[in-house]
Structures are given as C-alpha cells and as structure tokens.
C-alpha cells in the first residue's frame, strides 16, 4: 500500500471533511485494503468511520427497520428478529465471504464494495473500469461476468446484501455534503449501469449512514449458487420477497445478483407475478421475463439456466 494518514472520525460531518477529496472511509476494510494492496486505490488519508455514533444498531420499527451502516454482516446474519422478519437479508448476510470477513464487514461497506472482476482487480491491467480503453472481459475470460449491462463494462455488482435489500425495496440514506439523500437500491447502483468507471452512484465523500427496510408482512428468500459450497462469490444469486394472501402473490419482487452491474430486476416479471398462484410454470415464466434482455458472452451463458433454477427455488420457498 502507499503511505497514508489515518484518523478516526467522530461525526459524519467531520468524516467528510477529514476525507476531503483524497481520502477514503475505512469501515471493515476488507474491500478497501484489498484495492490498496494492489494499488488500485491510493488514498492519502483513511478515515476510520467505525466510531461514528449510532450507526451500529439494528433498530426494529413498526413501519421500517433501520440498519446502521456500521452494523456488521455477522450481526445481520445472527440477529434473531431480522431472521424472522427479513429472512432473505439474514440469508444473504450468511453467505458473505467467511466468518472472519463477516465479523468486520459492514452493511455500508458491503453495499459500496467495488467490482471483483479479475481484470479490474489485476494490478497490471488497466481495464475500462480503471480508465483504460478496453473491457478485457468482453473478448476474454468472462465466465463470471454480466448478462446485462447498460454500457461496455460487463463486471457485475457483487453485494449479496444489495440483492436482498432490493427485494425489500429498502432505502439507503447517504450523507452527501450536509444533506441526507435517500436512494433506493436501483438508484444506488444506477450510475454503474450507465457508466463503465462507476461501481455505484456514490460520489466521492458520500457516506452511507443507514438502510431503512420497510416492514410489510413479507415472506422472503435468498439463494445463491457458487462453485464452492462456502466462501465463494455467487455465480448467480436471487432474492425474492412478496406478500402472500391466501395463496396468491402480492407485490412480488424478484432480484438477480451477479448478473449485472446492478441488482437486476425486470418490472415485467414483478408485474406478471401479481396475483398469481405460485407454481413451477409461474416461476419459469417470471424467469423468462427477467432474462428476456440477457446478452451472453463467450463463457457466461450458463448463468441463465442457473438464474432460472434459483428464481424457481427462491419463489418456491415463499410457499412456506
């Protein structure tokens, strides 16, 4: 890593000030230090934000739960109330990395984490996302890459939590300057959809404060498929949530992860599921609708059948 200054901030405002435009926030540190060790990131100052007051709580609420940005992924995994109310979120948390990572990784950091594309992460490759000219994955090794993108970069967003939170229509509250800016998960990643050099919509200095998850009576599920049984990035993941009235789905949301530079949804699929009774054919049709605009590359078309399987699996778990 390049040398840097280090400071612990005691308020969001001073965190922003201390970071300035050459600094980065240090929460769990897994993603940031990894980038710094490869000289992909070279901040002049690291601002430890783990002491910011009040950001490390999971607060149940009648209308919405609030999850502070500094809540660890391990805490999300093991919180009994969360497991009951938002099972997809707890399940998504349980699959993040390893126990050692979950113990330090934070909700905010997990949402803000950068691409894992092996070209992006390679110290000696200046790919499109790093300001170079070429998306190497497009013509190269792309078995882990996106089926959907709004631009040339095909590296997928990899936050497990984002996929589940999208299914809950959560809102992320960000401090930008001295304003609190709410963003839905789609808004949080929208800039990555259009812009190859973006990982998400955060501007330098933006500080994630908390996530608000609406507490409707929803069932939910999260599943992922990796090459290994544990401690492995998802090839594809899927989170679903819906209200179930009688045996009909209401307000279903189906989200795919690791297939796009955003947690991917198709309005047509969500609309289609409205009022449906869940069975294999319904699940498969929803999958067709979600995958309609998929564009495979030389090595990643296999993600489509996996997506179909996970969509079906996740939806079937809603039957209870």
């Amino acid at each position: 890593m390049k040398p840097f200054q280090y400071v612990t901030a005691t308020s969001p405002g001073s965190a922003q000030e201390l970071a300035g435009d050459q600094g980065r926030y240090l929460a769990g540190g897994i993603d940031l230090l990894g980038e710094m060790k490869e000289h992909i990131a070279e901040p002049k100052i690291l601002v430890n934000i783990k002491s910011l007051p009040g950001l490390d709580k999971i607060e149940p609420g009648a209308k919405a739960w609030t999850i502070g940005a500094n809540v660890t992924v391990a805490a999300l995994e093991s919180h009994e109330g969360l497991k009951k109310t938002f099972p997809a979120l707890a399940q998504a948390a349980a699959e993040v990395g390893s126990q050692q990572i979950r113990n330090v990784a934070t909700a905010g950091g997990n949402l803000a984490q950068h691409s894992r594309c092996w070209y992006y992460r390679h110290r000696d490759i200046r790919c499109l996302k790093k300001g170079g000219e070429t998306c190497y994955a497009r013509t190269g090794e792309n078995k882990y890459h996106s089926l959907f993108t709004g631009n040339t970069c095909i590296s997928p967003a990899v936050s497990n939590l984002a996929v589940a939170l999208a299914a809950f229509e959560a809102t992320v509250i960000i401090q930008r300057g001295n304003k609190h800016v709410p963003m839905t998960i789609p808004e949080l990643y929208a800039k990555a959809w259009d812009n190859p050099t973006s990982h998400n919509s955060l501007e330098p200095g933006d500080l994630i404060l908390k996530v608000e998850v609406p507490a409707q009576p929803r069932r939910s599920a999260y599943v992922q498929l990796s090459e290994k049984a544990a401690f492995d990035w998802a090839l594809v993941s899927c989170a679903v949530s819906a209200q179930v009235e009688g045996n009909k789905l209401r307000l279903a949301r189906v989200v795919l992860g690791a297939v796009a530079n955003v947690p991917y949804q198709a309005q047509a699929a969500n609309d289609f599921l409205e009022g449906k009774v869940l069975d294999d054919a319904v699940a498969d049709k929803a999958a067709d609708l979600i995958l309609e605009k998929a564009q495979g590359h030389s090595h990643n078309a296999y993600k489509a059948p996996i997506a179909r399987a996970l969509i079906r699996q996740a939806l079937m778990r809603l039957k209870g």
Partner: protein
Amino acid sequence: MSKANAPDSASVSRRYFLKGFGATAAAVATARVEAVAQELEKANAEKIQGPEAVPITLQVNGHPLKLQVEPRVTLLEALRYHAGYTGAKEACDRAACGACTVLLDGVPIYACSKLAIEAQGHAITTVEGLAPSGKLSMVQQTFVDEDALMCGYCTPGFIMSVTALLNKNPHPTADQVKHACAGNLCRCGTYPRIMQAALKAAGVSVSSKTEVISYARLA
C-alpha cells in the same frame, strides 16, 4: 508523531465553534464552554496520524505491546515482523485463506486485513496466547490427539477459529463447524480431522471408519 501533521487545534476549534451559535446569552455561555470541551475532545479523538511511523499500543494476549508503525502496517505485519509473534502466518495477505486468523475481542478476524493502528483498544489473542503457562488449551490438545494437522501452517488459524466457535457455541453441529471454518484453507487436506477435533472438543465423539487392515487377512 510530528506536530506538522496534527490539525491546527485553534483552527479546528474555530471551525466547530461556529456551529454552536443560536441560543440565549447565558445558555450560549454555558453551551459555548461545553461545546469547546466537546470539540476539543473530538479534536483529540480526530488526531490525524502518519503517514510516517507513529507509536501505538496493542493489547496482545493480555500484555501491552508498544510499537512504532506506519498506519499502513497491518496487524499481521505488526505481530509477525515488529513483535516476533510468528504464530499467525502470512499465506495470502488478501483475506482469502485464514492462516492469519487472530481474535479481536474474542471474535476471529483476518489480521492481514486489519490495520495495526486501528486494532488499538481491542483485546488481541493470538495462538501463543492460548497456552500461557505452557499447557496446551483443550482445543490445541484435541488437535494433537486427533492429528488435525500436517504441515501445520494453517493450524494456528484453524485453532483460533475453532476456539472462538466453541467459546460462543460450546455444542456446535457439524454444519456450524463448517460455517465457522470455511474461511480457513488447508492445502495438506486435514479437514476431516479438524472436524473430528472440533466436535470432540465440543464433547461429541465422531466415529471414523478409517482403518488399517492387514492385506494378509483378505487373501
């Protein structure tokens, strides 16, 4: 730490001071004193350090460890190369293998991905701290008894993960052991006996069908 890098306390106080306006005079006077006190406390907490080496104190295995390290030095590097605690190993330096696992306030983390400077104020436990008087801990002894190791390089990391698991959950299932230890890699392939050792340490005896049979008996 050089003074040149410390924020100018006068300017900091002034910067935060300006935010304290807008109350009655008396209240303002009291509030002002309190605000200044708070802001000075904050300024001290928000002391910018580095990039050159700064003094830090780490609590390692119950003892204070005073070092002079740059902010970019990781906890693993501090332990191994600055303090001679070579139990935790550097095998990947990328939060991917677990050989550097130590406990921070009893919780397993990758020491390679924690800055030494931010590990201050936490209780750090390394494998050396499990047997302070020389008598192996129960987990360590069970690893020996079940031969849950071969080359031994991944072993301290596994022992920390299993120790932490059993401290939190004295009676884990096999699946819980897997979940707790999936972040530790072993290239020699000692996993089956690590599982056996972890469950045995939890009081569950696992029968293994492994046996040595004399060929002559079969003929």
